[in-house]
Amino acid sequence: MGSYVPGTLSERQQMLKAIGMEREDALYADVPAQMLLTEPLNIPSGMSELEVRSKMEAIAAENKVFQTVLRGAGAYDHYIPSIVKYIPNKEEFLTAYTPYQAEMSQGILQSIFEYQTMICQLTGMDVSNASVYDGATAAAEAAAMCRDRKRSVTLVSAALHPDAINTIRTYCYGANAEMRIVPCKDGKTDLAALKEMLTPDVASFVLQQPNFFGQLEDAKAIGEAVHEAKAMFVLSCDPLSLAILPTPKELGADVMVGEGQCLGLPIAWGGPYLGIMATTEKHMRKLPGRIVGETHDDAGNKAYVLSLQAREQHIRREKASSNICSNEALCALTAGLYMATMGPEGMREAARQTTAKAHYLQSELCKLPGVSMKYAGEFYQEFVTVMPKREAVLAALEEAGILGGLPLGENEILWCATEKNTKAELDRAVAIVKEVLAK
């Protein structure tokens, strides 16, 4: 069996003796006897490291790794530079706790301060927190921070990621607040319907840009309508796309949220990911989660601390705006590292190539007879096609080591490309689709 207990048998005996006990059983004297387990746990015996490795490698081998991924829908297979994989494994970053003791945690605090700064630069917002769990929880937390006594209803676009909608619905259920879904028209939020739904009890409207169907919304006009109704505008963005697309600030967002997975984190069957949350100075003290601030120490040296802690659960208890404690600090460090490694030009290039590859894939697919676009609007990285023989198409791609797009409604497929996909890969995928459709 494996163990990480250093004490030898004789050391344990010495220690027991030092505390006046003869047997280890005495340590559990407070537990009523009827509750103590008398049989060993019904799980397998422990194993050596070598055996565990073999077992886990065998389990990992049961997963199929696709060489080409043309599926997104909330998890995007971008290129991760080598150094971005390497640095977060440094043991100090990996094994430290939350930096409550600033005097021995300046490295982590500074990394978060740098992350916050980069998020502000990317989004144009004034203040970012140190992360929440993922994009869906960021949206749900944003909806919560917008509610007050007078305005408690959250509106969400039907073109928001379905998991985000369901998460917001759940957080609203918890808070005994109401969520209403604003319908779509041609794959985009229906502005006329939104305007009608912006009643005086609406606290915020949550929009995704690009939306779940890949479409670019007319976010600025939507934001203006929301503000006209004196509600808050929450904008969920793909952070990498912001290197080339208008910033949430430019679009009038009060709160920016986003899934940070595309900033250097692997798709990893759904997690750990990174919830990004940023807002304007006006709403800074309503922002949930940790925030690192700059200050000075008693000798006047620059120092970083967890600041504005009075908002948080360990001080405010039942009056806290959120219960969040552990966050995704190491993923935030990774995202900061990714942005620094890519640099402004690298970020722009990744976003531009992502756009170019997605549009190339779209134009090649739509040249095939029987394939058409579901929605006509501009898109960034994802698009929905309608084609016959959908299941056969996806199966043939899978057979060739290609994860095709995500099946949605009848005959619909939500495709995605990133800078990682080469022209050759895309051509090969299109050729397979062509072959299936021709049969």
């Binding site: 003290r285 001080i315 405010r316």
Partner: protein, 125 residues
């Protein structure tokens, strides 16, 4: 600790000065000392209704957030906007740094005079 003789006091450590139908409200020296360095204040808006014994805002120090409890009922006539940029005035000059002025004042019966308030502080201190 300073207690001003001609003011009225709430058990929740706010002071009240009533002149010409307007009640001026702040927090006491005892309250600011217990809070520690005040870093932020959340204020109501003019026109808001306040109710005696209920929260009308909060003050934040590094280690705590405390509700500001209204010592009287009425309508907020004015708020001291200077405190937003300089909340430390609550520490340095608690009786000078008024927080709100209230008109149409009612429910002032529970207020203590300076002697009774001093006794209360001695008990809690």
């Amino acid at each position: 600790m300073t207690i001003i003789p001609d003011l009225k006091y709430a058990k929740s450590h706010e002071w009240v000065k009533e002149e010409g139908g307007i009640a001026t409200v702040g927090i006491t020296d005892f309250a600011q000392d217990a809070l520690g360095d005040v870093v932020f204040i959340n204020l109501p808006e003019a026109g808001d209704e306040v109710v005696a014994g209920e929260s009308f805002g909060d003050v934040e120090s590094v280690k705590a957030v405390s509700d500001l409890v209204s010592p009287v009922s009425g309508i907020v006539k004015a708020v001291n906007e200077e405190l937003i940029d300089a909340p430390e005035m609550l520490n340095s000059d608690p009786y000078g740094a008024w927080i709100i002025k209230v008109e149409q004042v009612t429910d002032r019966e529970e207020l203590l005079d300076a002697d009774d308030y001093e006794a209360l502080c001695a008990e809690e201190g």
